[in-house]
Amino acid sequence: MSVFVLRRLLTLLATLVGASLIIFLVLDALPGNAAQMLMGADASADAVRALTVKLGLDQPLAVRYLHWTKGLLVGDLGNSYAYGTPVAGLIAERLMLTIPLAIMAMTITVTLALSAGIYTAANHNKLGDVGVMSLTQVGIALPNFWFAILLVLLFSVRLQWLSAGGFAGWDDGIWLGVKSLLLPAISLAVVQAAILARVTRSAVLEVLREDFVRTARAKGLGKREVLWSHVLRNAMIPVMTVMGLQFANLLAGTIVIENVFYLPGLGRLIFQSIANRDLIVVRNCVMLLAAMVVIVNFVVDVLYAFIDPRIKVHDL
């Protein structure tokens, strides 16, 4: 087991180094001068040169790459070109919103999807199955921003239970923060849950057809017992794969929902930095997203091995 984890950790590190190289090359080494871009086309050559030196852009590529990666390791990411404040602080502030939002949305997704998926598989081809599966079809077809607007109309405008947007932060208590993230989390979760429910259903149905399910029934276990003790664990592998992808997507790809609810999340920071040509923020944000995706995949891999005894031995 530990050998397996160690090997996966090494792969993770190698992937991160590769990602950092690509990100650095794409954003820093390609033609174009960041200083010129920042100061505009009309700036004098002297001013541009002064800024170039100030930003360290006159250094050789390798030196700049090493400087950046050293900064990544110690948490010193430099200052934003646009705001003049440390990039690490900017990102940390946004993560205070993005990570809790992703966790809330994922919790709702998993709760809805697993119950719907297991229920429909256990009632295969019965009325409940057809009904819930039609609902998931609708869920998949819904654009989440439109669904978000409907939620705002109902819960904020009509019922006035929740605010229509903005983020209360965590200083005034956890509940206020959670409350302001509730509608965005639901909007994000509904579409994902619809997809995950279908994945769960087909995974469970697949396992239900396995021979060992019949063996378990032949031992005298009831249908429900077989489902819980023999089927679900086997069905979790494909379900977890999709869960991992969805969680990574929640960390990086929520900009539309952030805009609907005026949330200062990571997605908006990246969007604004690109608009401001704030390359140092863009570079570090993209690196962070890459790292989060790689880490989520690592966690999923380790969970696979935890669930399925065949994986450990196979990889040892």
Binding site: D211, T215, A218, G220, L221, N234
Partner: protein
């Protein structure tokens, strides 16, 4: 308990099973009747799709929900047809156990073998986890798994096919059932292992006084392992009787064809295997009358009119054929024509 002694363990009468297949409803089994005493062994022979596995699954109550079972199956006088699933669960793995064909897929890859062998004990005998584990180790030892105390916590993928079949046998025997159903238990195994597994099953059946229904398409396996046999074709029993008697005087043209079609040791190289001409009929569209009539060399018009009755041709030996005078008179050559 007194009533039990003079009552057969299993009594099946006029069993019929209707399955919903992709091609519409099909009468997979019809008019199957037999009884089995305690300690008696019965073989079911036939080609794939002849209804032998469906018969076994109907005894286990494990047919798909859409299947309709008619007739009667009695275990010690208790009617099993129409029993609720909860009541059936009390019998399965406890009084009736089953060994399946594919040991590679019959075990759950996520659970240790010890857990899987102990499961019926935990369920039916309500023993503690520690006690169940001890008994599981003893069972694994009995079925000949090497070093069971150490390997009880291993997973199925760490065992070979033969070892896995030993594990499923241990599982089936855990609660000392009255009836063991073995559905092609050696078909998926290497030839060298097949004999060992069959010997193990035979030893255990004798040692525990169990009754057994052994299902196989292999006449050799049937000849060596059971006291009585039934030959099935197209969902009906076409011949039944004591194994020795049936092998000595095969009455049904189908049984004779099956016997002729088996490969023989010592046959000259290049000799083609004998076959039965035609194909196995689709269960959804069986001929009216004798199910074998379309392929039978002795067929006459009357064969197609109605399902022939079982004809008594010897001690306990029944044949579902109206032409036994012909088939049994000129057995040699009846099918070569």
């Amino acid at each position: 308990m007194g009533a039990r002694s003079n009552m057969p363990l299993i009594e099946v009468s006029d069993l019929g099973v209707r399955l919903n297949t992709g091609r519409g409803p099909a009468q997979a089994v019809r008019g199957v009747s037999f009884s089995l005493e305690r300690g008696e062994t019965l073989g079911l022979v036939g080609e794939s799709g002849c209804g032998k596995s469906v018969t076994a699954l109907s005894l286990m109550g494990l047919l798909p929900d859409s299947a309709a079972v008619t007739g009667s199956i009695k275990l010690d006088g208790e009617e099993l047809v129409g029993l609720s699933d909860a009541d059936y669960c009390r019998l399965r793995g406890n009084r009736i156990s089953m060994i399946f064909q594919e040991p590679m897929t019959a075990l759950n890859p996520m659970h240790t073998i010890g857990h899987q062998v102990a499961e019926p004990l935990r369920r039916h005998k309500k023993v503690s986890a520690a006690q169940a584990r001890k008994e599981a180790i003893a069972l694994l030892d009995r079925v000949g798994l090497p070093d069971p105390a150490r390997r009880v916590d291993a997973y199925p993928h760490q065992f070979s096919g033969g070892q896995r079949q030993r594990i499923t046998i241990a599982m089936a025997l855990a609660c000392e059932p009255d009836l063991l159903i073995a559905d092609e238990p050696t078909t998926a195994l290497d030839v060298t292992i097949q004999g060992q597994i069959l010997d193990l099953i035979a030893d255990l059946v004798e040692e525990r006084g169990m009754s057994m229904i052994l299902i196989s398409h292999d006449l050799g396996v049937i000849a060596e392992n059971v006291q009585r046999m039934m030959v099935m074709y197209g969902g009906t029993v076409v011949e039944s009787g004591p194994t020795d008697e049936v092998f000595r005087r095969m009455g049904h043209p189908y049984t004779q064809g099956l016997f002729r079609a088996r490969p023989k040791l010592g046959a000259r190289k290049g000799t083609r295997l004998k076959t039965i001409s035609g194909t196995v009929p689709e269960l959804a569209d069986l001929p009216s009358g004798c199910t074998f009539s379309d392929r039978c060399p002795l067929v006459i018009d009357r064969c197609r009119a109605a399902l022939p009755p079982m004809v008594d041709v010897g001690p306990g030996h029944l044949v579902r054929c109206i032409r036994t005078d012909m088939s049994m008179a000129e057995r040699v050559g009846a099918l070569t024509a």
